[in-house]
C-alpha cells in the first residue's frame, strides 16, 4: 500500500480523497493556487504546496507543477479527482514516466475513450448498442445529409472531442443542417482544437442513466448499479439518484453487463462510468465512458455499502477486487443534491463571495461532502460546486423526506446558493413520480418562478408572509450591525436607486437617535 498520495485537485473532491487517505493511514499531499491557501482541502491535508496563480491553466492544470510537488513530497501516487487533469491521458502518461502511480485507468484506455468517435468504433466491434449514426467524423455537410436521411430527423451533430454540450447542435430539418454543421465545427475547433464532428439520431428528451464499473489490474471487472442523472441544466448535472426509478433488476443486469463489456473492450482499470441514453421505451444506448471518479459517486456508495475511493486506492496499489459480481447488492435509495454557488433570482448565474453564515444539516440518512466553511471566500475562478448533500433511506420516498428535512436545516448566507431549487424539485409531483428526463429541469424552472418555493396553499403563504414581515422588523432592531451594507438598496438584483442609503442602515441610525 502507498504511504503518501498527492491529490491533484481542490474543493470538496480533494477533501473527500484526503479523508479516505486519513482513514487508510496514508499521508495526503494537497496543492493550492494563490486564491486557495485558506481552502478546506489545505486545512485537512498532511502536507500542502503552492502551485501558482488562480487561473487553472497556470496551476491545477499544470502537469509539470504536479509532478514537481510529487517529487518534492515523495508521494508515490496521484489521485486526480474529477475535472482538471483527471481525464488527461498525457498527464497519466507523464505520471507513469515519472514513476508515480496515477490512480485511474491507463493512458491507453483514457485516449481510447477520450475521443467519442474512436470509442464508438471500438464499441461497435464489441457489439455494444449505441444511437444510430456515424462512428467517424463527417467529411462534408452533404455526407451528413445522406446519413440524416437514412436514420431520420431530428439528428444531433456532435464534436468528437466534445463535452459539456460544446460543439453540439440539434438539427430538425435538412435545411438547417449546412449552417449547423459549420457552426458545430467552428465551436469544436475553438473549444477543443479539433473540428471533427459526427452525427447521431437525436433522442428527444431522453433519460441519462449511467452505470458504475470497477476493474482491478488482474482482469476482474464488476458493475455497481446505475445512477439516474437526467436532472440537468446547461448540460451540467444538478441532482442524481441511485437506483433509477425506471430501472428494474433485469434491466440493471443488462446495462451492467454492457458496461462491463465496454470496460473490457477498452482494457479498462480502476473506477469508471459508462453513460447511456435511455429512450421512452427503455432502450438504452452507449453514450460515452467517463474515465474518472464521478461527482455523484456517493449515491452508489450509499446503495452498495462500498467506499469507491478506498477501492480506487487499493486497486491502484495492485490489490485484487475484494468481491465478485455476485457479492454486489443494491440496498435502499440515495439522492444527491449538488449545492452550487448560484443565484436563483438571476437565472442561476454563479455567485462567488464570502460565506458569512453556514448552518449545516446532519442527522439520520444524511451525508454531506463539502468544500466550504463559514468565513471562507468562494473564489470566482473555479466551478461553482460548493458541496453535495446526499439523502439515504430504505426507499425513494424516505430518501426524499430526509433530504427535504435536511434542506430545511441547510442555510448559507453571504453568497447565493441553489438550495431553494432542490425544495422545488423534491416537492414536484413529476419528480416524486419519477417522471424525469433531460428536459425536466428547464421545464420546471420555466414554470413561474415564485418567490415562495413551497406549494403551500395561499392562506398559509399569507401567514408566512406576515411572519416574514415581523421577522424583517425584528432583525432591523435586534441585529442591525450586520445588516449594514456598503452600497444602498434592498430592491431588485442588479439595480438600485442612486444615493438612497440602505433601509437597514437607516433603521440602525434612527434607532441610535432614540
Amino acid at each position: 500500500m502507498f504511504k503518501k498520495i498527492l491529490i491533484a485537485n481542490r474543493g470538496e473532491i480533494a477533501v473527500r480523497v484526503i479523508r479516505a487517505c486519513r482513514e487508510m493511514g496514508i499521508a495526503s499531499v494537497a496543492v493550492y493556487s494563490d486564491v486557495d491557501r485558506a481552502a478546506l482541502h489545505v486545512r485537512k491535508s498532511d502536507e500542502a504546496y503552492p502551485i501558482g496563480p488562480a487561473a487553472a491553466a497556470e496551476s491545477y492544470l499544470r502537469i509539470d507543477k504536479m509532478l514537481d510537488v510529487a517529487k518534492r513530497s515523495r508521494a508515490e501516487a496521484i489521485h486526480p479527482g474529477y475535472g482538471f487533469l483527471s481525464e488527461n491521458a498525457q498527464f497519466a502518461q507523464a505520471c507513469a514516466d515519472a514513476g508515480v502511480k496515477f490512480i485511474g485507468p491507463t493512458p491507453h484506455s483514457m485516449k481510447l475513450m477520450g475521443s467519442k468517435t474512436s470509442a464508438r468504433q471500438q464499441m461497435e466491434k464489441a457489439g455494444v448498442p449505441f444511437v444510430p449514426g456515424t462512428s467517424r467524423g463527417l467529411a462534408s455537410p452533404e455526407e451528413g445529409e445522406e446519413v440524416a436521411e437514412r436514420i431520420g430527423y431530428p439528428v444531433m451533430l456532435k464534436a468528437a472531442a466534445g463535452g459539456g454540450g460544446k460543439g453540439m447542435r440539434l438539427v430538425h430539418t435538412r435545411r438547417e443542417l449546412h449552417a449547423s454543421f459549420a457552426s458545430a465545427q467552428s465551436e469544436a475547433q475553438r473549444s477543443f482544437g479539433d473540428s471533427e464532428v459526427y452525427i447521431e439520431k437525436a433522442i428527444v428528451n431522453p433519460r441519462h442513466i449511467e452505470m458504475q464499473v470497477l476493474a482491478d489490474e488482474h482482469g476482474n471487472t464488476v458493475w455497481l448499479g446505475e445512477r439516474e442523472c437526467s436532472i440537468q441544466r446547461r448540460h451540467q448535472k444538478v441532482l442524481e439518484e441511485a437506483p433509477s426509478p425506471i430501472v428494474d433488476p433485469e434491466m440493471r443486469r443488462r446495462m451492467g453487463e454492457v458496461a462491463v463489456k465496454v470496460a473490457q473492450a477498452a482494457s479498462y482499470t480502476n473506477a469508471g462510468t459508462v453513460e447511456f441514453l435511455v429512450d421512452p421505451q427503455k432502450n438504452f444506448y452507449f453514450l460515452e465512458m467517463n474515465t474518472r471518479l464521478q461527482v455523484e459517486h456517493p449515491v452508489t456508495e450509499l446503495t452498495t455499502g462500498l467506499d469507491l475511493v478506498h477501492l480506487q486506492i487499493r486497486i491502484a496499489s495492485g490489490e485484487k477486487l475484494p468481491f465478485a459480481q455476485s457479492g454486489v447488492e443494491i440496498r435502499g435509495h440515495a439522492i444527491e443534491c449538488r449545492i452550487y454557488a448560484e443565484d436563483p433570482d438571476n437565472n442561476y448565474f454563479p455567485s462567488p463571495g464570502k460565506i458569512t453564515v453556514l448552518l449545516q444539516p446532519s442527522g439520520p440518512g444524511i451525508r454531506r461532502d463539502s468544500g466550504m466553511y463559514e468565513g471562507w471566500t468562494v473564489p470566482m475562478d473555479y466551478d461553482p460546486l460548493l458541496a453535495k448533500l446526499i439523502g439515504y433511506g430504505t426507499d425513494r420516498r424516505q430518501a426524499i423526506m430526509r433530504l427535504e428535512r435536511a434542506l430545511y436545516e441547510y442555510f448559507v448566507a453571504g453568497i447565493k446558493t441553489n438550495i431553494s431549487l432542490f425544495q422545488r424539485i423534491l416537492g414536484d409531483a413529476d419528480f416524486q413520480a419519477g417522471k424525469v428526463d433531460t428536459g425536466y429541469l428547464d421545464r420546471l424552472i420555466a414554470k413561474s418562478n415564485p418567490a415562495v418555493t413551497s406549494s403551500a396553499p395561499q392562506r398559509e403563504i399569507e401567514a408566512m408572509e406576515m411572519i416574514a414581515a415581523i421577522a424583517a422588523g425584528m432583525f432591523a432592531v435586534l441585529d442591525p450591525a450586520s445588516s449594514v451594507s456598503k452600497n444602498g438598496g434592498t430592491g431588485a438584483a442588479g439595480s438600485g436607486p442612486v444615493s438612497a442609503p440602505c433601509g437597514w442602515k437607516q433603521a440602525g441610525r434612527s434607532d441610535a437617535l432614540r
Binding site: 466551478d383 418555493t453 413551497s454 408566512m464 439595480s495
Partner: protein, 165 residues
C-alpha cells in the same frame, strides 16, 4: 419603531415597541404577541402565539431574502419617516438608477457607451465569474449617464457599474 415592510407584493405597516420583558408588536394595527431572540448572526428565533420559527436572513448588496420554514421571501423594509424612502417608494422609475454588480467577477465587455439611449432590460456590461458570462441589464429606459466599469477590471458585489437616467 415603525416600518413599512413589503413581502409578496404587499406593503404592511409594522410597529415594534420595547415593552416589559420583550417587544410589543402591531402588524397593520393588529397586536401580535411575539418573542424574538437573535441566536446568532442572521438567524432569528421567533415565537408567535406559541408557534416557533427559525428565520434565516440572506442579505447581499442588492437585495434581502428571509427564509421562513421551506419558503424564501424577497423582503423590502422601509422607514416611512425617511424622505428618501418615500421618494423611492413613489417613483422607482424616475431619476437616475445605478446598475450594480450582483456578484464579484471580472468585466469582460462594455455593451454601451456613455450618453447612449438604452431600453429597460438592455445589456449594459458583461461580467464573468466562475467561467460564466452574465449580461448585466439596464433597470430602466433612459440615457447612460456614466459608465464606471472598465473592461478587464475586477468588481465586487454591489459595485456601481453604470448609471442610467
Amino acid at each position: 419603531m415603525t416600518y413599512e415592510v413589503i413581502v409578496g407584493g404587499k406593503a404592511r405597516r409594522l410597529e415594534l415597541e420595547k415593552a416589559a420583558g420583550g417587544w410589543a408588536c402591531r402588524l397593520d394595527g393588529q397586536p401580535v404577541p411575539i418573542d424574538a431572540v437573535i441566536t446568532r448572526r442572521d438567524v432569528l428565533s421567533l415565537l408567535v402565539n406559541g408557534h416557533a420559527y427559525e428565520i434565516k436572513r440572506e442579505q447581499t448588496a442588492t437585495d434581502l431574502h428571509l427564509w421562513v420554514g421551506r419558503s424564501r421571501f424577497a423582503v423590502e423594509l422601509r422607514d416611512p419617516r425617511s424622505l428618501r424612502s418615500r421618494q423611492r417608494a413613489a417613483g422607482d422609475e424616475k431619476g437616475p438608477r445605478k446598475v450594480l454588480a450582483p456578484m464579484p467577477g471580472r468585466i469582460v465587455r462594455l455593451l454601451v457607451a456613455e450618453n447612449s439611449e438604452v431600453e429597460a432590460g438592455q445589456g449594459i456590461v458583461v461580467v464573468e465569474a466562475m467561467k460564466m458570462q452574465n449580461e448585466i441589464k439596464s433597470p430602466k429606459k433612459g440615457t447612460v449617464k456614466k459608465v464606471l466599469a472598465t473592461s478587464g477590471a475586477a468588481v465586487n458585489s454591489g459595485d456601481v457599474l453604470a448609471i442610467v437616467e
